[in-house]
């Protein structure tokens, strides 16, 4: 080739009747040695182009399935992984508290200072209006018992604190009761005009609230809480601030502002009302925020509580995972739970053990059947196959319940044993609502998943192998052990993986026949999803289960080799 390309004459003028020269001329390359197609573009690119259409067509064929799998499988798994660490509820519900707590040190062993309680009052009042505080209480209650009721109680009582100030302001001058006075004090004239023109029946949107100029500097706290109030009634109730008396929180803020700021220079609407109040507030009956919270419950001074809030204030947490392995995220860091609170380690171990037992029983029971299926004449084998598949046509619930009937103490098996005199009537065997029951029922239910892969592998083993072994002098037993069995191992592998993975995540059967000692980790996951509503913990448990399965799968691949798993052919 090199001599042909080296000689330009041959390349430029191939003699048409010399096929060798022609072939060499076609074998042209560019400067960097890439093959070129007939029209001079690189061959690779041409090939890619011609393959692209094919690829797009293939992609379109699998697109529906791909989308379906993405939506129903990948997305939920991703969501589960996310939920197992997600923890935005604390920082979303108590934003100011979380910020104020940053300076506080749990190690000090003392309750945090006044600013933290101020921030908490702010956050909690708003959360109580939006009814978010109980959710947060429930969340924190997973970590520290008692928090839930603490939050519920405080959520109720924050209202009372403002009421005390409200009453005193009203006593001073009942104009403070008038929502229009408040609107005129806080809102700009343009807004007031627009708001007065608005009527609820018109269906128009509420005009956007505008602050009166200078009021934010004059009464900062009051402005902030009034804005919260306006925002709330606008979005939640669709009410006009002209028709609604402000929250009690606003009066607390007004008290604080009048105590801290000088309003004598103010000359806007209701100036004399404000100045009258400013003169009166030093005589008001008052209470600091901290005092208020402590009066609600002593526990608000507990550093343990604040430590927990602090530990769970980041947006992402390892807390769920720690709980899932019987540990706890405490202010001091991760720690093992008390002996009597550790359940998940036990459940994981039990799930593994029982899944292995089920897999093992399936191998023992399934192998001979699969062997028969693969070696009987077709007619008989088909009949047997129908029997194997029969359970698939029966409801899972029915089969599981049938086992209940069979195994219970007044059930068929016990009756027969008593009738035979093998066990006394008083000492009937307990075979249900424990591990034994779960293993029996699940072995029965998962057996077809073991038999089918075994059968499909065995049916590809030609009978000549065993014949050859026999003709070489092996007894039936040796021929089976040395020649047939090793070739059927891939089927056992495939069946075992299938059964084990199905078993480890099984739910219905252990729920029905497992009692308390025969339940799986999945039952606990289901409990957290539907009863305790601790989805984060459920997600963490699920993630661990997924990881365990993947690790086992990996180990299996290392030890046996996944190429050795065959579902047939």
């Amino acid at each position: 080739m090199s001599d042909a390309t080296a000689d330009p004459n041959k390349v430029e003028a191939p003699t048409p009747d010399d096929p060798l020269a022609q072939a060499k001329a076609l074998d042209n390359r560019d400067a960097s040695g890439r093959m070129l197609a007939a029209d001079g573009t690189p061959l690779k690119r041409q090939l890619a182009k011609s393959l692209r259409v094919q690829k797009i067509r293939a992609l379109m064929l699998i697109a529906p399935l791909l989308i379906f799998v993405l939506l129903t499988f990948i997305a939920p798994i991703a969501d589960m992984l996310f939920r197992s660490v997600e923890n935005q509820i604390v920082s979303e519900t108590l934003p100011e508290t979380v910020e104020a707590l940053e300076d506080w040190d749990y190690e000090s062993g003392e309750a945090p200072g006044e600013p933290v309680y101020d921030a908490l009052y702010n956050d909690l009042f708003l959360a109580a209006e939006y009814k978010n505080h109980t959710r947060l209480g429930t969340r924190l209650n997973y970590e520290l018992t008692g928090v839930s009721s603490l939050f519920r109680q405080a959520g109720r009582d924050v209202e009372d604190r403002g009421e005390a100030y409200l009453d005193q302001f009203e006593e001073l001058n009942d104009q403070w009761e008038d929502e229009v006075v408040w609107a005129e004090l806080m809102g700009s004239d343009e807004w007031l005009e627009a708001q007065r023109a608005w009527s609820e029946d018109s269906g128009d949107r509420l005009p956007r609230f505008q602050l009166r100029e200078g009021v934010a500097a004059l009464l900062p706290e009051t402005t902030r809480s009034f804005l919260n109030f306006v925002e709330f009634i606008r979005t939640e109730d669709r009410e006009s601030p002209l028709d609604e008396e402000p929250w009690s929180r606003v009066y607390t803020a007004l008290y604080t502002d009048l105590m801290n700021n000088d309003v004598s220079a103010y000359s806007g609407p209701h100036a004399e009302l404000l100045q009258e109040a400013a003169a009166a507030v030093p005589d008001f009956e008052t209470q600091t925020t901290k005092e208020f919270f402590l009066s609600v419950d002593d526990d608000w001074a507990d550093p343990e509580l604040w430590g927990t809030i602090q530990a769970f204030s980041p947006d992402y947490t390892s807390g769920y995972f720690l709980s899932a392995v019987d540990m706890q995220k405490t202010p001091e860091g991760a720690a093992l739970r008390n002996e009597d609170e550790r359940i998940y380690g036990l459940l994981f171990k039990r799930t593994m053990f029982m899944s292995l037992m089920i897999t093992f029983s399936c191998i023992l029971l399934g192998y001979p059947i699969a062997y028969l299926l693969a070696n009987l004449p077709a007619r008989t084998a088909n009949l047997l196959m129908i029997l194997v598949l029969l359970p698939f046509w029966t409801s899972l619930l029915v089969r599981t319940s049938a086992w209940k009937v069979m195994l219970q103490q007044q059930g068929v098996i016990n009756d027969v044993l008593v009738w035979l005199g093998l066990v006394g009537d008083g000492s009937r065997l307990v075979m249900i609502n424990n591990q034994f029951g779960t293993i029996v029922a699940m072995t029965h239910i998962l057996l077809p998943f073991m038999i089918l892969p075994m059968y499909s592998v065995m049916s590809t083993i030609p009978p000549t192998y065993v014949r050859a072994a026999r003709s070489l002098g092996a007894t039936n037993m040796t021929a089976f052990r040395r020649v047939y069995f090793p070739q059927s191992v891939p089927g056992i592998g495939a069946g075992s993986i299938l059964v084990f993975i199905l078993a480890i995540g099984y739910y219905i059967t252990p729920e029905i026949v497992g009692g308390t000692t025969g339940t799986f980790i999945s039952n606990r996951i289901a409990y957290h999803i539907s009863s305790s509503l601790n989805w984060g913990l459920a997600a963490a448990l699920g993630t661990i289960l997924l990881a365990v399965v993947l690790i086992l799968y990996w180990a299996y691949d290392r030890i046996v080799g996944i190429d050795n798993v065959k579902l047939g052919g």
Partner: protein
């Protein structure tokens, strides 16, 4: 065959019958006696019962009736693993999960042989089939021909005196086949083993065997050495099955000794050698090998000849094939050697053909 000969035989089938379903006989009345060291081939169309016979001998099928003897002893009730018969299967049946060496040492292991001795024997067997370097490979890593050799070595390694081979070369290409035919024959001769060999391929049967048993319809149609089989087929099935063959149909006109005259359906008269026809007036099919026909023969005054028309002339290098139309048969083939003086016919030429009466065999008409 005489009773004593039967008893002396190394392998003997005696009135063996076999039916799988209890309705049809797949093997009907099989009688066969093989001396030690013989290479016997079973040849026949598909479904004629060859594999069944082999399986009965190996012990994987039981004879429905009759007796099979090995070394003078009835083996009807001996299980396969105690018969000590080596077997090469059609698809080799090498154990895929064992290496070549493990495959070979398997029969020795199950016989409880020590490790050192096993290794020695495996090595020797591998060298015998010229595969000494391949002991560590898996069967899947070998070519078809190599697998075939290993299968052969495995059947021989435990020193079986009788080796059965069921179409062992069926999966190989022509060149490898011919090479392996030669190898198998050489090894069998060297070791002096007795071989029962099954094949579809008549060239294979003719070139390798001491004797060939032609099977059809569950019976041995003829059991004879290759040359006899080719030159003196006993009936028209064998004549047709072995080699190329021209046939003409007619009736016996006259019969006497080793000569008969046949009046063909077209009225022409020819001379033939009566093989399994007895009476004047019987219908017969005469059979002439293509290479025994002569053009414009000079056979003497009383010999009968036939008129023929050339239909086609095919040049095949070493031979010429001339297709003729003779006595109503348009597929009458004549083969002639490519000699300098051999005339090359062209279609449409009219010629005369003839043959020696002993080359033309008058057989049954079935």
């Amino acid at each position: 065959m005489a009773q004593t000969a039967e008893n002396d035989a190394f392998v003997a089938f005696e009135r063996v019958q076999k039916s799988y379903d209890g309705e049809t006989l797949v093997v009907k009345d099989l009688n066969l006696a093989m001396p030690k060291g013989e290479f016997l081939t079973m040849l026949g169309p598909s479904g004629s019962g060859k594999t069944t016979c082999l399986m009965m001998l190996a012990g994987f099928e039981t004879a429905t009736h009759g007796e099979i003897r090995l070394g003078g002893q009835s083996i009807n009730n001996i299980p396969p693993h105690k018969r000590g018969i080596g077997m090469v299967f059609q698809n080799y049946a090498l154990f895929p999960h064992m290496t070549v060496a493990e495959n070979l040492s398997f029969p020795l292991e199950v016989r409880g042989m020590g490790k050192a001795e096993r290794e020695k024997k495996v090595k020797r067997a591998l060298e015998m089939v010229q595969m000494g370097r391949f002991g560590g490979r898996r069967p899947a890593q070998l070519s078809g021909g190599q697998q075939q050799r290993i299968a052969l070595a495995r059947a021989l390694v435990f020193e079986a005196e009788l080796v059965l081979m069921d179409e062992p070369l069926g999966a190989l290409d022509k060149q490898l086949r011919e090479h392996m035919q030669f190898e198998i024959k050489r090894i069998a001769d060297d070791l002096g083993i007795t071989v029962v060999y099954v094949t579809h391929d008549q060239t294979e049967a003719l070139t390798m065997s001491d004797r060939v048993a032609v099977f059809d319809d569950g019976r041995i149609q003829q059991l004879a050495p290759p040359d006899e089989l080719y030159e003196a087929p006993k009936n028209s099935f064998v004549a047709q099955f072995i080699g190329e063959n021209n046939t003409l149909e007619g009736r016996i006109e006259e019969i006497g000794g080793n000569r008969c005259t046949v009046r063909l359906d077209t009225g022409d008269i020819i001379d033939a050698n009566p093989v399994n026809v007895k009476n004047k007036g019987d219908r017969t099919r005469v059979s002439i090998r293509p290479e025994r026909v002569e053009f414009n023969p000079d056979l003497g005054p009383e010999a009968h000849t036939l008129k023929a028309e050339v239909k086609e002339f095919i040049y095949m290098g070493d031979v010429f094939r001339t297709r003729l139309s003779v006595a109503g048969n348009d597929d009458f083939i004549v083969k002639t050697r490519n000699r300098a003086d051999q005339h090359r016919f062209s279609p449409g030429e009219r010629i005369t053909i003839g043959w020696l009466p002993e080359d033309c065999r008058a057989l049954d008409a079935s």
